[in-house]
């Protein structure tokens, strides 16, 4: 696969993922990070805060964005998996998370339905430090809630 063919992947969109947010999901994420912030745990406390109720931590929307429900790393139907499959044909079989940037506009709450769309916005071949080539991919995701409001955007850069 040539550099040009790789570039042709830019603009590829993932199938929108729908995520119904529950208290349990919020607490699983907070617990796994070791974060006891009462805004994620304590309904009564959160109700008295400016949010008026429980919220999710920022960057909450990991699952099922990366590898959808029931799917494994190597057998995915979403954009990350698709791109991984395509660029593997060009000899890039590994992937490392190089960086992420998020912007948060609105809190995510239990009961919300978040629709996540993703698009490959960049792909670039570079000379690696140790010689040989490397590939940088950038995927942008947009999270929209049930009211049609954009709650967050996120960009992921991968090194392959």
């Amino acid at each position: 696969m040539t550099s040009e063919t790789l570039k042709g992947l830019i603009g590829r969109k993932g199938k929108p993922q729908v995520y119904e947010v529950t208290r349990t999901d919020i607490r699983k994420i907070a617990d796994a990070a070791g974060d006891r912030n009462p805004l994620y745990w304590d309904d009564e406390y959160a109700a008295k805060s400016g949010y008026g109720g429980l919220i999710a931590p920022p960057d909450f929307f990991g699952w099922p964005v990366k590898w959808g429900p029931g799917l494994t790393f190597v057998n995915s139907s979403d954009l990350f998996g698709e791109i991984a499959g395509e660029i593997a044909k060009a000899g890039y079989t590994r992937a490392i998370n190089a960086g992420m940037e998020s912007e948060y506009y609105l809190p995510i709450r239990p009961g919300d339905t978040i629709i996540i769309t993703s698009e490959l916005v960049g792909i670039e071949e570079k000379e690696g430090k140790k010689g040989g080539k490397m590939l940088i991919s950038t995927i942008e995701m947009t999270m929209v809630n049930q009211n049609g409001d954009v709650v967050a955007r996120q960009r992921h850069s991968g090194i392959h």
Binding site: A32, G50, D59, W63, I96, N97
Partner: protein
């Protein structure tokens, strides 16, 4: 209620209260499950060594980032809002293995740190810009980044 930070009380160069964390194999598996990142790089040592050539399983960038987020949300309080965070994963962090069901082996402790780089008022929003990073036990910055937070003002 937790202590609230106000925009007026923040100065350029001010340090964000640090947050220490220990990456353990247990923590990585919990994160993989909760966040939905099933990449075997984070729990299968042979895969990490033989295929990924990382020398062993490594901590998720997303987990290290979540710890930096926690440092920021602890600091800005309930009335603060994290608007933006950007992180670059520069050096790999290896988890400690578990010695018992609850206790890890001795090893690296990671510290989230940050400092204020700018303060501004724009369109009624009171903004603070920060540099943030994660240090390993040797004092190397394994994750670098920046963040923008919005803070309340005193009435």
């Amino acid at each position: 209620m937790k202590k609230q930070l106000y925009w007026e009380d923040v100065n350029i160069g001010q340090e964000i209260p640090p947050l220490t964390k220990v990456a353990t194999t247990l923590a990585l598996v919990k994160w993989a499950g909760a966040f939905g990142d099933y990449n075997p790089l984070h729990y299968d040592n042979d895969f990490a060594v033989n295929f990924m050539k990382t020398g062993g399983v490594i901590a998720h960038g997303t987990l290290k980032r979540q710890w930096l987020i926690q440092m920021l949300t602890d600091w800005i309080g309930d009335e603060g809002w994290l608007k933006r965070i950007q992180t670059q994963f520069r050096i790999m962090d290896y988890p400690r293995r578990m010695k018992t069901l609850v206790e890890p082996e001795d090893g690296d402790t990671l510290t989230c740190k940050g400092k204020v780089t700018a303060r501004s008022e724009k369109g009624g929003e009171y903004i603070v810009e920060c540099e943030i990073w994660l240090e390993n036990g040797k004092g190397e910055i394994t994750t670098g980044g920046s963040a923008t937070v919005m803070l309340p003002v005193k009435k």
